[in-house]
């Protein structure tokens, strides 16, 4: 266990950025999001969660695969995409880090998504425990420990006031720790006690939250019944069919592949897509899910039932972004409660 004093943070970031690209939660116009850090940027590590999830680091909103162009009547191709620069993300929350491990199940399964794999292996994730979980958090319902970052984490960190505790969890994390040897300090008994106290207080705060114990089993064990439930119709009535929930969600990973064509050049790219959209998975005959009710059902059945059946985990980490961002206050918690017979 190491620690870094808060007065040294700027120096820490400086040193990291000499070796790696560094992503930090930066505040711009009142919104906080993970962005590449430069000296003088307004870093905000106190905001519990960023407005958008950090999935864009490993899964960019738009990524070009292929460029093509005709030169002297010959078609030339160029393969592009992926990322070879090594990078570090500091201050990701345990739920977001866990979402990386969920996305891994999608993109690192055979056939492996090469671009995703490159981004994933080149990144070192420093995950900061949540000292002040909020009312909209329900990570504990999905088995994620806000007091102890593990999943998708290379280095676990805790903010104990004066300093940030630092514990490498993976080989990559150990290597980075080695590089930062002159900034990181050793810890003493005093800090270990502070850590235990902090973890205890996080657990107590979590226990106070309204949605710590959502009952998911009743949903995941009754696929057919849930699929045919009358509840979808009622819940989806207010759904506007926008894509906020899917795009701020750290685990939503659907994408579309599209072509851009100019006269004699073009590109093939993938971009985020949302199951809420009317042109999602559109085929020759149209969208297989014709109504918003079906689309709405798909999103939640995917997260709570299908993904679990296929990959053994729920495709939700309980970050609560959809709860905050939905324009009409419809969200996964309401769905879980309603389906669970509440």
């Amino acid at each position: 266990m190491k620690q870094v004093y808060k007065r040294d943070l700027e120096r820490l970031w400086q040193t990291i950025s000499e070796h790696f690209e560094l992503y930090l939660p930066l505040e711009q116009d009142g919104k906080v999001n993970f962005m590449p850090w430069k000296q003088g940027e307004n870093v905000n590590i106190d905001r519990l969660k960023t407005d958008l999830s950090p999935k864009n680091i490993i899964f960019p909103p738009t990524e070009t695969y292929l460029k093509f162009r005709t030169v002297n009547k010959r078609l030339c191709f160029e393969s592009v995409g992926g990322k070879n620069d090594k990078y570090v993300v500091f201050g990701m929350r345990p739920c977001d880090a866990a979402s990386y491990s969920i996305l891994d199940k999608v993109f690192l399964q055979e056939p492996i998504d090469r671009f995703y794999e490159e981004r994933r292996t080149n990144g070192i994730i420093i995950s900061l425990a949540c000292s002040e979980p909020e009312e909209t958090c329900f990570c504990s319902s999905f088995g994620i420990a806000a007091d102890n970052p593990v999943l998708g984490t290379d280095i676990a960190a805790w903010d104990i006031g004066e300093s940030i505790l630092w514990q490498p969890k993976s080989e990559k994390g150990k290597k980075l720790t080695g590089i930062l040897d002159n900034i990181l300090q050793d810890t003493s008994e005093h800090e270990i006690i502070a850590l235990e106290r902090l973890q205890q207080s996080i657990r107590e705060k979590l226990a106070q939250l309204p949605w710590v114990d959502l009952d998911l089993e009743i949903i995941s064990n009754n696929m057919k019944e849930m699929f045919e439930s009358k509840v979808w119709e009622e819940l989806s009535k207010s759904c506007l069919g926008c894509g906020v929930c899917t795009f701020v969600c750290p685990t939503c990973h659907c994408f579309d592949i599209q072509d851009f064509g100019a006269e004699r050049n073009g590109e093939r790219f993938r971009c985020w897509d949302s199951c809420m959209y009317s042109d999602f998975t559109r085929m020759a005959h149209g969208n297989p899910r014709k109504t918003q009710t079906e689309r709405f059902r798909q999103r939640f059945m995917h997260k709570l039932v299908y993904f679990l059946n296929n990959n053994g985990v729920y495709a939700c980490v309980g970050c609560g972004r959809c709860v905050e961002k939905c324009p009409v206050n419809m969200n996964i918690v309401k769905v879980i409660k309603k389906l669970g017979g509440d």
Partner: protein
């Protein structure tokens, strides 16, 4: 501006061959272009004419799409207000594009890049003058990639 920069600017201007898209109404301005042609008036080859049934057929989408895909300037030419073949079409054009031109300027697009002109079938002269002036002003602005699609590559 230092000499070097100025030189660079001049040389890039020399290479700069603007592309101007002109949406011309079938009944007046397109006929005006015809007249300019048959009267052997010069107007630049940079102008690419797209014939539309009426100036009010032009949707703002067309204008933006033209800028995206290589246009350095866009001009909509229609009958003089009051002379519309469909009686009232260009009155609507006038309102719509007055607002749209203001909106484009508001988001930082130069006035010179987007114009509306009223050119009748008898005004071959005006057609040539307007197009020449448009080219001049775009040349003065110099190359710019505002609103351009970053993926779009100009064909030589």
């Amino acid at each position: 501006m230092s000499l070097k920069l100025e030189e660079k600017a001049i040389s890039s201007k020399q290479q700069f061959e603007p592309l101007i898209v002109a949406f011309c109404c079938n009944w007046c301005s397109y006929a005006g272009a015809d007249l300019a042609g048959t009267s052997r008036l010069n107007y630049p080859a940079n102008i690419k004419i797209i014939k539309v049934p009426c100036s009010c057929r032009v949707s703002p989408n067309f204008v933006l799409r033209a800028f995206q895909r290589g246009a350095d300037g866009v001009i909509i030419a229609g009958c003089h207000p009051g002379d519309c073949h469909y009686s009232t079409g260009n009155y609507f054009t006038r309102r719509r594009f007055t607002l749209f031109a203001n909106l484009l300027e508001y988001v930082g697009i130069e006035r010179e890049k987007f114009k509306i002109e009223w050119i009748s079938a008898a005004e071959g002269n005006k057609f040539a003058t307007v197009m020449n002036e448009m080219l001049d002003s775009i040349n003065k602005l110099g190359p710019s990639r505002k609103l351009r699609d970053g993926r779009w590559i100009r064909q030589q």
